[in-house]
């Protein structure tokens, strides 16, 4: 994995931090207060960013692998979050949309969600790796049908989970002021780091993404690797679904995780990963995810409406991608070289003149 890929997302992060500090010196303030239930909670912009950026960061983990191995993107993640979330609610609430008690333990619901997420991932993975369909198009299918399927799971009703414990995942555990999502992200990152360190997943994924034929002739099974990447993303989707559904303890099929697929893909791109596959740096994507969340939070602070948010994000993204394009970089370094050249030449002339004056004295 390349380490200089971290440069751009870190730069972006710093830039956003500086801009915010200039406008509001109290930007980094974090206060410890109490929420409605009387529990201590941290609040402040930083906390918001870390909290709400977590779903994106988790998705970025899986999306990076999918992009690297298959050279394409999975645009169905929003819809599959809806499906996984809906399945979770179905397990928790049974067929009753306003139950008094949980129909099954939360852990079971989560495992079902994982299974469902992985099934969706397997569907996409099969289309891409076995039938060789372009990822963006293959995932277009679940993108189109996913939310309908999610609604169908619960007969188009909106079940509400009665147990407040369920809300801990997307909120706060009593007594712990740090949002739970921060811990969830940390766990996911640690698991991914361990997997990447103690298996050849990184090497095989990059190999398959760069040259599938050669990889095959070296004994790697490209079909399996690509399939695996999509299944892993499916797992990430399940975790993100847990967080999202837990935040409101219910679901809104057309609104949940809306446009998150675009944010996830952007996170991967901001991390300097090539969207056509190959070498990747997964941590850069994670930082990219937080950059996007940072951007979103900054815009909300400036009272930008949520619908209009997209426009500002777009401009920032274009600027970022524009300035990191190799052609543009070449042009800029070429012009600065010229300016520096002229500068040093004129200095040399001055020095020569001075030397001449010295001599003639």
């Amino acid at each position: 994995m390349t380490s200089n890929q971290l440069f751009i997302p870190l730069m972006a992060l710093i830039l956003l931090a500086v801009v915010n500090l200039i406008v509001d010196p109290g930007f980094f303030k974090v206060t410890l207060g109490t929420n409605n239930a009387g529990n201590p909670v941290l609040s402040g912009y930083l906390v918001t960013i870390l909290d709400y950026g977590s779903e994106l960061a988790i998705l970025a983990l899986g999306m990076t692998l999918v992009t690297a191995a298959s050279g394409g993107q999975d645009i169905s993640v929003g819809a599959t979050i809806a499906i996984a979330g809906s399945a979770m609610l179905r397990v928790l609430c049974g067929s009753n949309s306003r139950p008094e008690a949980l129909a099954a333990p939360i852990i079971v619901a989560f495992l079902v969600a994982c299974l469902v997420g992985m099934l969706c991932g397997a569907f996409n993975g099969a289309l891409v790796s076995i039938f060789k369909i372009q990822p963006m198009i293959a995932t277009l299918i679940l993108f189109t049908a996913g939310r309908s399927i999610a609604a169908w799971i619960n007969n188009n009703e909106l079940p509400i989970v009665p147990d407040p414990k369920f809300g801990y995942f997307g909120g706060f555990i009593p007594g712990i002021p740090i949002p739970t999502t921060v811990f969830i992200v940390l766990i996911c990152i640690i698991i991914m780091a361990l997997v990447l360190k103690f298996t050849n997943l990184g090497l095989y994924t990059q190999s398959v993404g760069i040259n599938e034929k050669s990889s095959r002739l070296n004994g790697i099974n490209p079909t399996l690797i690509k399939f695996l990447a999509f299944v892993i993303l499916g797992l990430c989707v399940a975790v993100a679904a847990l967080i999202k559904v837990s935040r409101i303890s219910t679901i809104n099929y057309s609104v949940i995780a809306k446009d998150i697929e675009m944010d996830a893909i952007l996170a991967v791109a901001l991390g300097g990963n090539s969207l056509s596959g190959g070498k990747f740096n997964i941590w850069a994507s994670v930082i990219g995810a937080y950059v996007i969340q940072f951007l979103t939070t900054t815009l909300y602070k400036f009272n930008v409406q949520s619908d209009a948010l997209a426009a500002y994000k777009a401009v920032v993204v274009i600027l970022l991608v524009f300035f990191s394009a190799p052609k543009v970089r070449e042009y800029i370094s070429g012009s600065t070289k010229k300016i520096r050249g002229r500068f040093s030449r004129s200095r040399k002339n001055l020095l020569v003149k001075d030397a001449g004056k010295e001599e003639s004295k």
């Binding site: 289309l127 039938f131 198009i137 189109t144 997209a310 991608v321």
Partner: protein, 346 residues
């Protein structure tokens, strides 16, 4: 040597484009005939077919623009956003600024061209991936739509309403309603525009050097460069055309719905892509044709009509059936192409 001679004969006539188009047309005809047979009365009226055209004129136009970008090897997912933006801007102009029709048309074209030009510059001259650029374009367009005017509203400008409700009668295809009155079949202005555009783009793709260079660049960009094709300009123009089509399509959409709203045309870009693929355009580039895209749009819409006339809940089932159809088509494409590759090896 003998292998090549064989290939020159029968198989020479067949190429990727022809096979996919053939499959598309066959499936569409089967579907429509099936609909007539099984769903009966509604579908038998020619007006049903014309209504499909009426409600999808905008999609036809944007899908054709999309096909051109896809043939060149790129993609443009901003078209839905552009259509929404065009609708909103024109609506605001006509009602809030008391504008006239001609200028509103210019506004639509201007917006479409602007998007196409900027995106084309970034993709072709700065070498940034089209997916990202047009994704940002989509975000930008959708966001701007809300900024221009937050609430949706219907346009009441007189000239506009007159234009919107103009009906062009198709002679001889009318039907008798329950009271025995003859109601002529009609199409809206948008359909005429769409059909003209289809013909123009068909001619461009088939009979101009620019059109052929789209195919060349999509088929093998490096080779096209070596052969002397101006690859940058070709890619740039493909995005400009797509943007222009989004602008024109946007105005046609506006004519059809008669209002401006931020929720207009959501998912239109995906429909355009799906129509193109069903019509035989390959995402990898180099293969595709306009008539196929037209049939693709009609196929998509036929499904929607079958679904609604069967009394199923439109919102759910349309999504699922279109997805299923896309799935089937993609599988067919993948299998057909693989079979041809195998046959040619021997």
């Amino acid at each position: 040597m003998s292998r090549s001679k064989l290939k020159g004969g029968l198989l020479g006539r067949i190429n990727d484009t022809n096979i996919l188009l053939f499959i598309t047309v066959v499936i569409f005809l089967l579907m429509y005939i099936g609909a007539i047979v099984f769903q009966g009365s509604g579908f038998r009226k020619p007006q049903m077919f014309f209504n499909i055209l009426n409600s999808n004129a905008a999609l036809i136009i944007t899908a054709c623009g999309m096909s051109i970008v896809m043939i060149t090897g790129g993609i443009d997912i901003s078209v839905g956003g552009v259509v929404a933006l065009v609708s909103m801007c024109c609506a605001v102009y006509l009602d809030k600024a008391n504008g006239n029709i001609f200028v509103s048309i210019l506004i639509a074209i201007g917006i479409g061209l602007a998007f196409g030009i900027v995106q084309g510059l970034l993709v072709a001259y700065c070498d940034i991936q089209p997916f990202i650029v047009t994704l940002a374009g989509m975000f930008f367009a959708r966001g701007m739509t809300t900024i221009v005017n937050t609430k949706p509203f219907n346009v009441v400008n007189e000239d506009f309403v007159k234009l919107k409700t103009t009906r062009i009668n198709v002679p001889g295809m009318g039907s008798y309603n329950k009271k025995g009155l003859y109601i002529p079949a009609y199409v809206e202005i948008g359909v005429i525009v769409a059909l003209i555009i289809v013909v123009i783009l068909f001619v461009v793709l088939r009979y101009t050097k620019l059109g052929r260079s789209f195919y060349a660049v999509g088929g093998n960009r490096q080779s096209a460069l070596m052969l002397g094709v101006n690859v940058r300009r070709t890619r740039f123009l493909s995005h400009v055309i797509c943007g222009l089509m989004a602008g024109i399509g946007g105005y046609v959409y506006f004519l059809h719905v008669g209002s401006g709203a931020a929720s207009h045309a959501t998912g239109m870009e995906m429909n355009a892509i799906a129509s193109s693929i069903i019509g035989g355009t390959m995402l990898s580039g180099g293969v595709g044709n306009i008539f196929g895209t037209l049939i693709g749009v009609l196929s998509l819409s036929t499904i929607q009509n079958i679904v609604s006339s069967a009394g199923l809940d439109q919102a759910w089932w349309t999504g699922i059936t279109i997805a299923a159809m896309l799935c089937i088509f993609l599988l067919i494409q993948s299998i057909v192409i693989r079979q041809r590759k195998r046959a040619l090896k021997r």
